[in-house]
Amino acid sequence: MSTTEIGMPLTDSLEVLREMRRDDDVVLTVMGTAREWMAMGQLHPLDWVYVPSSMGQAPSLGLGMALAQPDKQIIVCNGDGCMLMNLGSLVTITAQAPPNYTLILFDNGVYEITGGQPTPATSDTDSQVDYMALAAAAGFHHVFAFDQLEAWQQAARQLVDQPGPTFIHLNIAPVPGAVGPRSPGHAPTRADLFAKALQM
């Protein structure tokens, strides 16, 4: 089966980010993306592994970072279940319109870490929600969608570098039996260290 039919592997889609990531890019991951990001190798000082999280708040958290640090690119890796919990954040983001902000939606159609139950946006295996249309209607300056790894790989750096806010939808294959991420350390200490790196 092609990646078009089942979606890109999550780890491969994240590997694209690891490869194109610059030293002053901030990468915010949550839930499944956080789990895989941690498993893929050593963390960067500007990785914000949002674990523990308040589900749905990653895009808003990244917005605050983008406003406080306009010279750094903020890349938020959000899941579709998380996105559905906070659709209003799309409008909050575009109202501020930070040019250094990219929201990547890793859409696998399910609540992966709770057993793969479909989100309300999913009927059978098909998404009933056009997230790109939502983002465009909310006012994102650029909206893109990818369901093939090669195309995502070729475009990623250029899309992140253009003045945003930018929304990117990735069609992702669920990871069967996946578990939730665990914090890679004492959360307040991690926050203090991250803040120092972010403010440098």
Partner: protein, 166 residues
């Protein structure tokens, strides 16, 4: 209870850089003044839970945000508040409008009066109630003292400001 000028002067004096907020009928009266401030950025959010998350991002990035929401929004935003203030122990300060405290005529029996203070007590934050409408100058000084106390201790705090309209 406070005018826009009083609030803007207070927040500027305390060097807040951003106000992350959703207006209610009291807090909304300060909006124009806040937006006119040259040293404060006004960040409107769509739901109160977002306010805490945006404020955390700002604070991590070196800014000094203030969360400004009504008590109904405090109820809504519990999980985000929990994550921001307790999981990550970020020392955020908030002004929370206490709906109906001074006047229940618009919403008789408003249950905000039943739940607001117990919920804030449950969160265990440094919280003070400001309800002396005839003594605004002193109340503003007390808010400033509370903010500075929280900053010195590195803890979150809430100034609970009594409101008279729904």
């Amino acid at each position: 209870m406070f005018t826009a000028n009083q609030i803007v002067d207070l927040l500027q004096e305390l060097a807040f850089t951003h106000v992350v907020t959703i207006p209610d009928s009291t807090l909304g009266q300060w909006e124009d003044g806040l937006k006119a401030s040259e040293s404060i950025e006004y960040v409107g959010v769509c739901r109160e839970g977002e306010a805490w998350a945006v404020a955390v991002g700002l604070e991590l990035g070196g800014a000094t945000p203030l969360v400004m929401i009504q008590c109904t929004g405090l109820f809504e935003s519990g999980d985000s508040l929990r994550n921001a203030l307790f999981d990550y122990q970020r020392p955020l300060f908030a002004i929370v409008g206490y709906r109906s405290y001074l006047d229940q005529s618009t919403l008789p029996g408003d249950t905000c009066l039943k739940f607001t203070e117990p919920i804030l007590e449950a969160w265990g934050m440094d919280c003070s109630l400001y309800d002396q409408a005839d003594n605004a100058d002193e109340q503003l000084k007390d808010i400033a003292t509370q903010v500075l106390r929280c900053r010195e201790s590195g803890v979150p705090g809430v100034a609970l400001v009594a409101e008279g309209r729904a």
